[in-house]
Amino acid sequence: MRREKSLVLGVTTLAITVLLAACGSSGSKEASTDTVTFTTSDVISTMDSALNTNVIGAQALTDTMEGLYRYEGKTVKPAIATKVVKPTNNGLTYTIPLRKDAKWSNGKALTASDFVYAWQRVVNPKVGSQYAYIYEGIKNATDITAGKKAVDTLGIEAKDAHTLVITLDKSIPYFSQLMTSSTFFPVYKAAVEKAGKAYGTNSKTLVFNGPYKLSNWNGPDSSWTEVKNTNYWNAKDVKVKNLKYQVVKDASTALNLFQSNKVDRTAISGDTAKQMKNDPDYSTLPKSATFYMQLNQDKNPIFKNAKIRQAISMTINRKELVSQVLGDGSKPIASVTPKDMSFDPTTKKDFTSELSTEGTKNATYNPKEATKLWKEGLAELGQTGKTFDYTMVGDDTDTSKKQSEYLQNTLEKYLPGLKVTLANVPFKTRLTRSDSGDFDMVVSAWSADFPDPITFLDLFVTGGDNNNGHWSNTEYDAQIKASKTTNANNPTARWQNLLKAQDIMNTESGVIPLYQSGVAYLTNANVKGLDYGPSGSYNNVSLYLKK
């Protein structure tokens, strides 16, 4: 009997404590004016620049570390380097002077050998970096990763403490953009050696050279704070003292936190985003990522017919898809290469704005034309009146499911004889099915590794690993090849190659672009100077608070 009594007592105590605590917490804490709080969709996986593969880690690295260059707006600006260097030796050598006032957060000088050590680490097969492939083109990188050559044969050398010489196997036209990416950041050798495998798993193992320092962060923590690094060479330009990140996954929670002034900027999605569309704090941001549909030409020869592919593309009302189904700031797109990512080296115009309308019209909603082309295509193939039962593979998130249903509906409506069955599967299953050709149609996505159209266009050359539909066009292949060889050192001619390649793919509807993914945000009106760069990270040096 005593047991029951104590149980009742315990429950009563708990209930009272709950009430007391409730009263105690009613005075809400006001955020410090020196701190900007962001929500983020997930935790940091690692702070090891050699191992990180996701945007959350890339943002934390861009805040706390710095490479040769940094994006300011859409321009590549010198960071640890003193100038953005043009290559010599036919595009194969970069001699980069480093700033002498660059320091690590422990006060030690940052030298060229810190870069050498970091880069050799990324390509070292023992480290197991999943991003080592991005070094392809730097002398011996591929061979080193494959274990065929020694790590110290990599084409990077410290000529003296403040001069870095980088040698390439073949010229890399987007070299400068690449240098803004965190995989090319330097690391503090002593810290890496001391921590061993634990490097990057908590903030104690890290030494920083960027605008902020990560403090008190441990592995899977769901919040972290970055404090201003006074040893940063450009610390005088860093205006906000603390950046705070909170993992919030639920959109309505994010909205509640934002409206109670607990966070200054948050991404919102789904119905919450639709509901807030007209709010003055609402804005959207395009990402350098696109969603597109691939048609399996090996399995279904009718997809080899351009008219069939064009018909499929024209039935899709992309505007309706992004506004009614997604509602998250995604934008319709007429090419697999996204907008706001890469710019003509001479005219400075956006890549997508220079594409021919002959190609982009195929990605414009035109159901009448679609039905007509579909019938013509089938007639050419001698398949008139036949029925086609196809499986469309997509991801199994809520949004992806809705998106697949939308596509199914619209395709079946305008293309007589076509029946679409949906297979919404987990991400890894989607990849496996795409690779093995176990699909008729698949909705795929790609995000830029570095801001250059080639990161998208390279996917669809004949025999490309990610060309799952096996669309093939010799003229397309030739343009891509020319951009990498004959015109590699001629930015203008190379740009024309890329434009032509994209035009060919569009005209042929080789791959069917759907939309450029975007994110809807709510931002406190006091937060200014948000600078989202083409590399997919914010440059938080320019961030400030309106007082």
């Binding site: 409730a22 080592a132 492939y133 929670t253 109670s260 607990k262 990610n466």
Partner: protein
């Protein structure tokens, strides 16, 4: 009792071993690789990575290596959190889930037992009606709906509690309430049914005949005997709660373990999947053991195999 315990612990270890083995082989049947940017790696690069992480070895050899590591207390390192030891990962994520789960369990089952008992004693009165109504309501409303409602009204509108984020005891209250309702309703239902039965049995009549008051009878004789079915359901309920409710944790942005488990499966994070499965199984078995021992304490008739089996 000691003999019985030793026997149970041996079974526990054996079961864990079987669970680990079955999970290992099933896990290897899942499509894809544990690499987070798998789609960007060429076949050649994948081969190099597999060599690096020992995933190119025959499955049986990988299994052997894993089991040997396990015997040395090594759960391996995570793939999604590069180089982060799995054990540390579980431990750092476990505390919030355990805390909320335990609070919800105590609050839910405690109030449930009270509510059920009161309803049974006042059978077929308005008290019973109200109690039954609330238990049905509690079972019908999913905890995440309740979580959203609690968050919106109590935290956002009335500002009585933190909206979300994990920051001290006050931030655990709303998730606890959201999670407590289902165990409360369940316990209340079981308690009422059993108590009604017990109250009509002969020994209760006898107790009453001896001149005990109604409340004395209930407290001394009925309550304890009505607890048996409740203890049965409390076991699995406790595991469910303590291992985390993914959705409620997400709504309140709590860094719990539930989400970690789902994510490790979605990303083929082999060592984390194994570590969490073994851990969950261990927790479930320990709770079952505790429940079995509790039976004996509550009801002397089932003083386990000590006399019966031996």
């Amino acid at each position: 009792m000691t003999k019985y315990l030793i026997k149970r612990i041996c079974y526990l270890v054996l079961t864990l071993f079987i669970v680990a083995s079955v999970t290992f082989f099933m896990m290897k049947l899942m499509p894809g690789t544990p690499y987070t940017n798998q789609e960007k790696l060429s076949a050649d690069q994948l081969r190099i990575m597999n060599e690096q992480y020992g995933l190119n070895k025959p499955i049986l050899e990988q299994y052997w290596i894993y089991i040997v590591g396990l015997l040395h207390g090594d759960f391996g390192t995570s793939f999604q959190f590069n180089n982060q030891p799995v054990l540390g990962l579980i431990m750092s994520r476990l505390a919030p889930s355990l805390q909320i789960g335990a609070q919800a369990m105590i609050l839910g089952s405690g109030l449930g037992i009270l509510l059920g008992a009161v309803a049974a004693i006042r059978k077929n009165t308005w008290v019973d009606g109200v109690a039954t109504f609330f238990s049905i309501l509690g079972i019908s409303i999913p905890n995440f709906v309740l979580a959203v409602l609690l968050q919106f009204f109590l935290a956002f509108k009335l500002q009585m509690f933190p909206i979300a984020l994990w920051d001290g005891f006050s931030s655990s209250i709303l998730p606890t309430l959201a999670l407590a309702v289902a165990p409360l309703a369940n316990t209340a239902r079981f308690m009422r049914t059993e108590m009604v039965d017990v109250l009509s049995s002969d020994y209760i009549e006898l107790a009453k005949a001896k001149g005990n008051s109604r409340w004395q009878t209930v407290a001394k004789h009925a309550l304890r005997n009505s607890m048996i079915p409740v203890v049965t359901i409390i076991g699995p309920m406790a595991v469910n709660l303590m291992t985390g409710s993914l959705v409620v944790e997400n709504i309140f942005s709590i860094p719990g373990i539930g989400e970690q488990f789902v994510k490790s499966i979605m990303t083929n994070d082999y060592p984390t999947i194994m570590g969490l499965t073994i851990f969950y199984s261990f927790l479930l078995m320990v709770i079952i053991l505790v429940v079995d021992i509790l039976y004996g304490i509550i009801d002397p008739r089932i003083r386990l195999s000590e006399k019966g089996a031996n």
